[in-house]
Symmetry: D2
Subunit: 339 residues, 4 copies
């Protein structure tokens, strides 16, 4: 933390800052400049809260230097984490494909898609039984019935199931039926829910909030990690900007940024990330090329009849072709040793 | 809904769209233009989902016309709603001031602020016992102990209590101790929570999400209204933009926009909306001038020691002076009959 | 400038940073923390460029402390500047109203509006002869013919003229016909144009760019000031965000922010700032309440026939009523001594 | 254009809309719904301005359907355009690499980089002699001296030169020394400049504005095209969002979006698009994978000494390695026939 004093700060203001630092058990270092004085804090192992200082008299700005996240940081854990879901590792030396449906609508729809997912060689299947929808009048998901259909997929196709939970009750149900709990965009800062899945034995797929900074994203992961669940996979799924040619703006620069500061794996969801089926393939390929640990793709046997987000689903045959392309791009990327 | 066909759409594509409209029980109207054909839907009382059409072959775009929210719309309820909290009405012919603390830290802190709130003539006191904090290492609120302190304020100062709930369990506690349930920014799309407070007997203060559009904001209100709770007050508290001179960008234009399409009252929170105490007064005055039904102000007897958001709290004496100014501005505004 | 070293930086990395600081003629101050070392720079009167350090080996971050703008800062010029346009002062102890048209379309239209502007007591008239339009097929303004109409308004109504210039040639013409040069949003970072008006004798109205930070806004003013023209008035006119209920998001928090760090006057344009006529009055009142030095309003005698931005123009009679309200709000605001 | 009437619009309001449509020479089509009436326009070859209708009494909304850009649209020109710069085609069946420096600083620096660019097999060299800098105190470029250095590069290395112009005078100079004129981000809506380069014989590289929508971007291209210069290449270089882990947010989804509606080639600038050298490689690879026609990379022999944007420059040896990777990714992408 660096506390920058105002040009007209009094000596007593500087003293008061120094005293507060001492009271916190740290060391103040006064630095006298041409125009003003700054006070640097040393001795702190963890981030100091700028709000502790920014309101003191004579203080112009309190600038954080230490990052507030610890468990998701790669400072003390330089090795990148690989999260196991069944036999699959997300974040290891491989590309994880998660295929599936947006919402579980019926046994037929889910099985049609599961067959393609199986055929593509993917090991993970994603489908939503609890759907957080913007409108209360939109299809809200089949609930437990949907989870039962997913568990049939698990059995019949030997695929592991990733599915969303939206509150305490649904977490319990998901724990009974599935292999990985998804926390959706709108719940990225639902801290009660994060704490609950932090106590789960299942790995967690945490989607980035629509307006979340990297720091906020990692702090939400930190809520899960600090409850004891170390199996967290991050997912970039588009942020909200002024741009209107896609439903969201897929922010692929967060992939190298996460890799620089965190040991957690991160995957990309180009389906929600663009909201337009014609863009999904191009952005999925870009996601692999940028170095993501995996790609999540939504498929629908008949997108025009989809009860949720049909506009972004691709057909099973398109999916199969795309997976081939993703593997080819991944091969090149890993050959040059950049991933 | 208007379905715009591509320039090269086949006649059979247009027929298929028309057929789907007929199947939904509505009427298709073909409009043949120089370059392409469009199909308009009539006969629908409520919004049709664009996703039903946007993926059909030959379709270029499906454009919504009917708004998806009904209960929060002023179409069927032209009279603006006044929400009662105790004897106070938010949204009537008056300006509601809600004063209070960000987080309940101690009996002393809360009582010091409550005294000023009482002295200012305000009837509502706000304070958080459950704090959704970005970092798991930040102060998370006193929980039930905080609610008990708030209920003492209620008794001693005859103020009604507004306080946040963050999950099912905390809603129940808030119902026992307080007079109005706040749903915070990060939970605006926590639909499980919205449904729960929709079943409560207490009025709800719904804060706008950091990246919520007007339509999403009203649809979140719709979740509460559609469960039977008609006592919803909206709150603008700043949105997330690239601008970095304030913590958030207070979007005052949403006040006239809400008044144009909805009957729900809306108040302004300049404390979170700016995150900087030196701006709070100016933006509070602007909030009154723009026509808000109320203003929510955070106060701290010693902001530099605040455990949460001290940077935006103003002093009790500043608050008292500010309330005088707000009343003066409101008087002018209501005299010219614009509010 | 504070240069934060990486945790694993070598001693030689720290030495290299220190050496570079010495080479620049400043003093390095090493601060050794628990986890890493930082180096503070003192001795610099002006901002040091972070890019000078951020790429050196072992450097984690270079954090600016000194602001890069000098002439627009209030550090050396604590007195707020009042810019004279004819007899009027923008930024003094008064509220400046600028009324006018978006585009000069015809003598009739301009005179009809000028009459109302005169009647309202305003001294400044705004109208565009050179219109920077998003589409090349949209009306581009009348050019010099438009300036001639404006100069007739100047003569007939004794109003001072504010009008936009878009390149070197139009600056010269504007200098011949008008009293204040407007630099539009899209040209806020057209530095060649800024340098040119920096050499003009006319005062300049500088509109904020759609995605400009406060620092960038003041640095654009700095381009004008550093060429010798000290008569700069800033104008907030809405920024680009995801919100879609208004054409732009009017960012009123920039008014107190500018007043805190700069001596330059700042006015508000609620017409472009909202793009919707029904919002203009409410946001104009808010602009006065937040402490702006003036308000710029677009009027059209028949908005439905406007060749440019008709959707945001108000009628002459609405304008006259609004000015009365703005004066009333200003009176209250200045009485409490906050403006 | 679809004009949606308010629920309470009068029959006479609808008539007035129909009359205005007739007056414009088009046909109105009334569509009577359960709740309200809409009027559709047919007969128009080009976009009608919504502002013509949105202010008429009884009108709720005027919704554009026809796109306002024509020459940049692929509707009448379905074949994708390849822009020739010397022997190179940008937009043909190949990947164009443009390597170079941000600012021309000295003959030594430029030659060192040009050698690597040549060695990589690239044909185009980029360097700035006129630098639009946020601060007037930052290095503004060498001007004509810089152009002379670039023309030496052209001669010595047989590379074609891409360089920025910022006003009329610099366009003329660039025409004398270089092969392609760059219009920078901050000038994307400097319409006077766009018109000027629209009259040039040189091809134009048009960078996307920091807050430009796809439609605005194409309309800026339209300014150039409509003056007769058909050689326009678009460039995505990052947009401004709230995200702060990169300097800008590179919006790769605009690549498939441009390919869907326009025939113009589009390249990606990951250097400015991220502002951080450690991200450049990853986003360059993603740019190729997403289907861009080219990649623009900034190189510096000693980034820590760069006079402009050193933080985003990569070393010559890193560049050479990266180009190899980009070619490998491009090979895979074009093999699967998706680019």
């Amino acid at each position: 933390m660096l506390i920058v004093m105002k040009a007209d700060a009094l000596d007593s203001d500087v003293e008061r800052v120094a005293e507060k630092i001492n009271n916190l058990g740290f060391q103040p270092h006064k630095i006298v400049g041409v125009n003003r004085t700054a006070v640097c804090i040393t001795g702190n192992q963890e981030a100091v809260d700028p709000a502790d200082f920014s309101n003191l008299p004579g203080v112009s700005e309190a600038i954080s230097i230490t990052k507030p996240y610890k468990l998701s940081s790669n400072k003390n854990q330089p090795q990148r984490t690989a999260v196991k879901v069944g036999e699959t590792e997300i974040g290891g030396d491989n590309l994880t494909i998660i295929g599936g449906v947006c919402a579980v609508e019926s046994r037929e729809q889910v099985f049609a898609v599961a067959e393609s997912v199986k055929r593509s060689g993917a090991k993970l299947f994603r489908g939503g039984a609890f759907k957080p929808r913007t409108s209360p009048y939109a299809f809200q998901g089949l609930g437990e019935e949907g989870l039962q259909i997913l568990s049939e997929v698990r059995r019949e196709f030997d695929l592991k199931i990733v599915t969303e939970a939206i509150d305490e009750k649904s977490v319990e149900m998901v724990e009974n039926y599935a292999d990985m709990i998804q926390i959706g965009t709108r719940n990225m800062q639902n801290f009660a829910l994060l704490k609950r899945v932090g106590k789960s034995n299942l790995p967690v797929l945490l989607k980035r909030g629509m307006s979340a900074t990297l720091e906020e994203f990692l702090l939400s992961a930190e809520y899960i990690l600090s409850e004891g669940n170390e199996q967290v996979v991050l997912c970039e799924r588009g942020i909200r900007t002024f741009a209107n040619h896609a439903r969201n703006t897929l922010d692929l620069s967060i992939i190298p940024a996460v890799k620089k500061v965190s040991h957690l794996p991160i995957i990309v969801d180009p389906s929600h990330g663009t909201g337009k089926s014609y863009m999904v393939g191009a952005l999925a390929r870009a996601g692999v090329a940028v170095g993501a640990d995996g790609i999540l793709i939504e498929i629908h046997p008949s997108p025009e009849d989809a009860l949720s987000d049909g506009a972004q689903a691709i057909l099973p045959e398109e999916y199969l072709e795309l997976v081939g392309q993703l593997k080819a791009v991944y091969e090149v990327i890993s050959a040059v040793g950049v991933s």
